[in-house]
Symmetry: none
């Protein structure tokens, strides 16, 4: 006996089937979905809510002719990349995988390949199979950490985190982030240390549990007039205050 009813009364399987249905047709009235899935419309509503909470953009329209539909962005049209764009993406992934913790980049590329036309998918697979990262023993950065810092940098948010400096000393920091910078094979965050009252550069692989807070003053100038030039030349001279 197959432990699981033929996907009939099983919420997980049914939700997956609902997703497939939504992807297969532009729109569905609730009653029809309910009939297909052999549940009540109330349950369809619940399943739709579940999909939405998982990140799927399921839209609905009330009134006569009402329906559910998967927003077009999710039935991704086949992405027409140029060959060099695909190769660049694979190369970028390979360069990143020594530093980014976890396999988020891999998963992203796998999903991307799902929506590529066959020829481009072949290009992607070939490129991935012919390459390797041999720089993998570096301190790695968690993408979710990176996400918090990138967001804080873009919005000039006040940021709190724990930091272990090059001597192994642990401290808690309050800073206003300005920019996340990749340089010399590492990620750094350039920030104004609110406690030290001065500019600091922190290595991202030493940042622990960052939390973005309220917007900072934002208007405290920059460590140099020409930020780009400063980054290219002086960057990293004072790693981690």
């Amino acid at each position: 006996m197959t432990d699981f009813a033929p996907a009939g009364g099983d919420p997980a399987g049914r939700t997956l089937r609902l997703l497939e249905l939504l992807a297969a047709r532009p729109s569905w009235p609730a009653a029809e979905l309910a009939a297909r899935l052999e549940v009540s419309t109330r349950t369809v509503r619940r399943d739709v809510a579940r999909l939405q909470s998982l990140g799927y953009a399921v839209e609905s329209r009330p009134g006569p002719g009402g329906h559910y539909a998967l927003r077009p962005g999710h039935r991704m049209p086949p992405l027409v990349f140029q060959d060099d764009e695909v190769v660049a993406l694979v190369a970028a992934l390979r360069m990143a995988e020594g530093i980014l913790a976890g396999d988020a980049a891999h998963r992203a590329l796998a999903k991307l390949s799902q929506v590529l036309p066959r020829r481009l998918r072949a290009v992607l697979d070939t490129a991935a199979a012919g390459s390797e990262n041999a720089w993998g023993d570096r301190e790695s950065v968690d993408p979710s950490t990176l996400a918090v810092l990138l967001r804080a940098a873009e919005r000039d948010l006040v940021l709190r985190f724990g930091y272990r400096d090059r001597h192994g000393t642990f401290s808690r920091r309050r800073v206003e982030a300005v920019r996340c910078v990749y340089a010399r094979g590492r990620w750094y965050v350039l920030a104004h240390d609110l406690d030290a009252g001065d500019w600091r550069v922190f290595r991202l692989d030493r940042v622990r549990e960052p939390e973005a807070g309220e917007p900072g003053s934002g208007d405290r100038g920059r460590p140099a007039e020409d930020l780009a030039a400063w980054l290219a030349t002086d960057f990293g001279r004072r790693p981690g205050g």
Copy 2:
């Protein structure tokens, strides 16, 4: 907005994530899947059975080295990007842009951003706006060069190219490419030099006008038994013959 682990304890979401994991990597041992999904291996088995009963070709192998694998070529439900995946893509691009010539990676990301749902596009744009590459003065590699070498490496093709070694001497090479490797912030190609009759490592930024030709003998062994370990330790000791 730290929506990284979508609905952890929910069977429907978990099954979907399982499908994504299976699609993202050739194979997984059950224990690893269980750890990722934060459930017991028993539950992983149940979820796999569910996917199979829904028609997804999940294969398994018992015994040492056992694993689960998704047979390719199967239609997949639309997969939605997670925040950390989008961030990883942006980060990878930033890391790559100091080395990849041209703007292929940027164009790819721009195209991608156009088909992303609004929220994810915001994540992508924020991440892109908050980051920078300050390692841009490196010798760069043309993605189309990379494409040729990656293809040659994957298929064991004979490769011809011009090469300018570290002394500035220019020569023409005939090699059988084995692997393109990113290490220490640079791209290299590991190859068997047909003229020198020995293994060589070439820096990709010194390769000019590569041309892939007929398949090579393919069967000439490897520079070391354990290629991965060799790459991680000895790699690059003989840069560019």
